[in-house]
Symmetry: D2
Subunit: 398 residues, 4 copies
């Protein structure tokens, strides 16, 4: 088939009036949608056998946690993906609805233990397993499967850094070399070509989206980048911990993991690459009395002669074609509530009181753009579907 | 047009693998999705000129409140409806995003004053204006417009009862006679045929869904129906009131409007009709520290010889074909969190400690099934589209 | 000692202008707070050697939970009690501040294991251990110690009922006979004379305070008493459970323990005693997104010829001399926020829409009047001090 | 009178075993309650007639707001102060309980309009009126009254700066010269001698307490002091605003007043004085979904050769004698929950990831140490009573 696959995506000002259906990017027509059970990379190309209305089979490993259930929630209205496999070792044999009754209206298979999973029937896998358990499991998957891994296990390209911060040997060093870091807007082409995507952490997503372009353009200094971040509690997952009880979280705030949070090397890896030189940041996360939402308030020194207007203009231009990254009009303050439940990231920049400094704010939903939403965005690209498919649900406010 | 319109809807166990597109109910095929550019009211009838992908034009009156913004949020992914008109008298001339930044990615017209609105270009209208202002405005709309009114102004069939509870004369007595009460699952055929639907209140929705079928079947007594209801704060709207400040609501609970809440006559109207005899209920609403969500805990006396199993079976059967009303498996307790942001209602029944009594629980999102979601569900039917179109977004948890 | 001790207490309208200091009730010093009733005092040393300003030594068993820390919080400003012993088996050797940093300014001994505790140096003990572990431990304490037990282990007078509801044999049957049920306002004289007080549960406190007097006076029917109760999460304690995570509790409500909550037999025990006949209630607790606070909304049938005014008058009269139980003026709705952090209970009654029925509301802070505050109130009485000593901290709002 | 008044206060390690009664600082005995300063109200006046147990009469101007009600809450257990006058113009004639039912158990006079207030019967006044209305009112008070003003009207010593930030002329320029800035721990002697104290703002309190000593000792640089502050909503008061509705605040975070918050000049005034040179800070406040509590996370550059240990040691030494300022042990992270409802400030310092930088955190309850508690602390000193009187209520957690 001659139709070249386009990497372009829908510009924000020209949203389709028709619903996004299950069609391949660039194919232009809904009818030619192509089939076949043995679906892999080539299939979405020359022979394109997927027929109209037929869906890609998706597996979710670790479906009983919050990122897993969020994948299921979002895929419920996805035009092209269909969940046919879910694993959860401690809940094997149970329905997802017994664990997450909010998903009871879904027609889903029962969960199985990962060792009992039949991967021959799925085309792509979202891996929502805990950090540290994931490397071996992904290494054991059939090589034709597309994989988006939501754990931290493949995010750090430097294996030594991984071993230092995670205090354990890396379990899949060869696979690490293939892993593509899936911050979609900053790494789209590599994601399209990837077989294994390491889905970014929530803090790194909210921080790199505004900072990487500014560092790349040398509009800000790499010295004294100070990041005061605030996160909802869902980032800590669903496991029972005293410190995450309602009574311990409600009506208060506290910092945690000061200087030691494991997202630090991931943040610095991305910023250093953008700046083409080693960047060290100050990063202090705070736990907030909210389930979802994340704000990074970032204090930076502008480069000589650079103004707030320059920063705003550069970011606006950089993201103007992006559906999910919105640089707000001047003066409008980002609120986490305004992206809740959605895949959007809102960004703005403000002049600081100290001359030459700027304040950059970015907000996301930590479970969506900071985890499961971006994972689907990446899988859409890897499968050659519309990048926004299944992700245009609007933020829920109030 | 020969094609008889069906009142059937998608059974839950056979959800479509294809996305719901913009097609008319009963037309049988997605391909025949109708003709012609010049789409106006007649099109949705005999000559059905709507072409594939073409959308119906929708107006939202009172877009700057929570029910208005919720209509906009939900319609953003609706396959058939497109908002082309929004009014907000005090915000006339402004963009919706200036009032609700969470909707900034939408491509919408600016808001206008209702008196400046051009209704000739819209096919249907959601009226989200405050109680008391709505009767005159709707009476002045072109008669070809389909209207779903989210206020209380047309809910009470007995004009005298309206005047007694609302302490003002009714402003559109003739129109009242045409108004159809839009509790969709209980009144579907009338909604389909309606031009003006009075969308139910949130409490009445959560209460009538389980009670009306049980009263109709005489499975419960009409005596001593005690309803202890709990609501999120968004039901009070966005206007600034001391009693709805964060500091006044957070970390506490209180009853309000004891015996005097204006939803009482609406509840009793529906239950009396179902029971074919006057029903008086005890109804005590409580304000909860949550933005969305509503639970009605209903204490009833079962009829002689009736068991909990009978209630569960009757409700299960009554709603088995409904997408949005789910009778939970025995013993599973409804949580408001499990329907948050969605159009679902979860119901269950429990045996009481006092012999012969039962406890019925139902949960909804007060802004969706209790307001804007049900309004869209009704408009879908009035426009002859799939009832579930645009409403299959799953509940958001956590 | 000749000084006859009075059981009277300070009327609300004549609050002392002097601070409550560390004096025995009835000792005549500092305001001559009144005599009467013979009252032995062996527990506090045979010869009653306590001098003005000297404090009683108190032990807290199970200091690392919420009720334990609440005892410590409240005793920090108690004029007569001083904590000299704290136990916490899993935190033995640690300071309380390491577990509860909010108490860091207190000058307290480190916690020890209960088996290592030296009880010879304390005069009274608050037992904040989990249900089921308490009977044996209290049975092993020196018999001269005054004990207030905050667990459920001694609340049910009928050992068989205990064994049925708690599904385990009672471990201290003899001691059970001595245990006095410590709902202070309803059982004051027995508490004064007690050596071991079973401190009531939170729900039973909020329910019996208004209902027992009305049942005793036969002003309400014992049939169809329907209690819809709402509680903050702190009642569930500090142990890590998935269901009590912030993400699981915030922004939602759900019932739990329907018909099976272990407070049911305690409630029915008290109400049956008041009514002098078996009372069975409908009791449905709900979990609320708040840390503290409890509301019981109680739906009752009034006796023939009884009016709301009668109920209000009877309760007002019954509690007019009580510091901690306030019957609100007619029409004022109780809010849990208005008793937060305090030992107060607010009550009111409302006419129902169903003729002959009434709605009774009572609110408390589940950790204070529902647990640690009432425990101190009881210990004050047992030690012959002012009942209100250390408990006049006002509710914290907002 | 010969008895020299001491400015010393109770060291933390030697808390009194006796309750703090109504006695003057330094007099050593409870019986001799007695004065010094010229003071009307005969009891406290020339002939020293105040007897044990007699209380000072206090007025609260603006009692119907949150800082006013908080004064009332805290004074309820104050051993020496008694409220005999309350004003609230719009609620004149009403009881405080009608506005704040949580204070219903207090025996208080009804509120009057400020113009109708009889100031001849009070010894001290807390002024809780809105910014901008206070200058004229205080200027009109009898000159013998001690006044603590909780508004911002007298905080800025430079009248021009006041006029610039508040955009209005100063209404009491002469009085401004007498006003003492009441950050108690940093300005104690001046407070003792003051007649009019300008009670600090909440942000300035939380920021100056740790920063002023470090700047004074030149342990940190005055360049690039970056303050990311987080506040509960009660700081915004009780007036009805859309932006403070529960639905707008819950489950989210947002910055506000970026670079323009009126606490900036107050912060810089204090820090500049401590540093003896102009200091400009970056200050970004964030609104949190909590009613009470404030955290300032402060990012600073240490002076050459200075270590984290130096900062910790300096602050520990500086505050070791203070009851209300607690420098936490190394590594312990401050939580706002741990000071909730109390007059305590918790502080700690942490090494940053960027070499040479430190992170300083301080937490307070914005309504207590950040407003009404510190006001009482100041009034205690102005009246020559124990500084901690009425303020030893412990933080409420959970």
């Amino acid at each position: 088939m001659a139709c070249a696959l386009s990497t372009s995506f829908l510009p924000k000002l020209a949203k389709p009036d028709v619903p996004i259906s299950c069609h391949l990017r660039g194919l232009g027509c809904q009818a030619s949608l192509a089939p076949s059970v043995e679906h892999h990379q080539e299939a979405i190309g020359e022979q394109t056998k997927l027929r109209a209305g037929e869906k890609i089979s998706i597996g979710v490993l670790g479906a009983s946690g919050y990122t897993g259930s969020e994948i299921v929630r979002l895929l419920a209205t996805h035009p092209c993906f269909k969940i046919t496999l879910m694993t959860a070792d401690r809940k094997a044999g149970q329905s997802l609805a017994s664990v997450f009754p909010h998903l009871i209206s879904q027609n889903l298979p029962n969960m199985v233990a990962v060792n009992d999973a039949d991967f021959s029937k799925v085309d792509g896998v979202f891996c929502c397993l805990p950090h540290g358990t994931t490397q071996e499991i992904i290494a054991g998957l059939p090589s034709n499967l597309k994989v988006v891994d939501l754990s931290a296990d493949f995010r750090l390209q430097d294996v030594k850094e991984y071993e230092e911060w995670y205090n354990r040997p890396h379990g899949a060093i060869e696979l690490q070399k293939q892993a593509v870091y899936g911050l979609t807007e900053l790494n789209r082409q590599a994601v399209i070509d990837a077989r294994l995507v390491a889905n970014p952490g929530c803090y790194p997503t909210s921080i790199q989206l505004p900072l990487a372009p500014l560092l790349e353009a040398k509009l800000i200094s790499s010295e004294s980048i100070i990041i005061d971040a605030k996160s909802g509690v869902s980032g800590a997952g669903r496991s029972a911990k005293e410190s995450n009880l309602y009574t311990e979280i409600s009506e208060g705030i506290n910092a945690y993991g000061i200087t030691k949070h494991r997202h630090v090397p991931e943040i610095e890896q991305g910023l250093s690459a953008a700046y083409a030189s080693r960047v060290t940041v100050s990063f202090t996360p705070h736990l907030m009395p909210m389930s979802r939402g994340m704000q990074s308030t970032i204090y930076v020194q502008m480069a000589d002669g650079v103004s707030i207007q320059d920063l705003h203009q550069h970011l606006s231009k950089r993201f103007q074609e992006e559906e999910f990254v919105i640089v707000l009009p001047k003066g409008v303050i980002p609120h986490t509530r305004n992206v809740r439940g959605s895949n959007y990231c809102h960004i703005n920049v403000f002049e600081d009181r100290i001359a030459g400094r700027a304040i950059i704010m970015s907000v996301i939903d930590n479970l969506v753009k900071g985890a499961s939403g971006q994972a689907i965005q990446n899988m859409n690209l890897m499968m050659d579907y519309e990048e926004t498919a299944g992700l245009l649900q609007q933020p829920m406010f109030p």
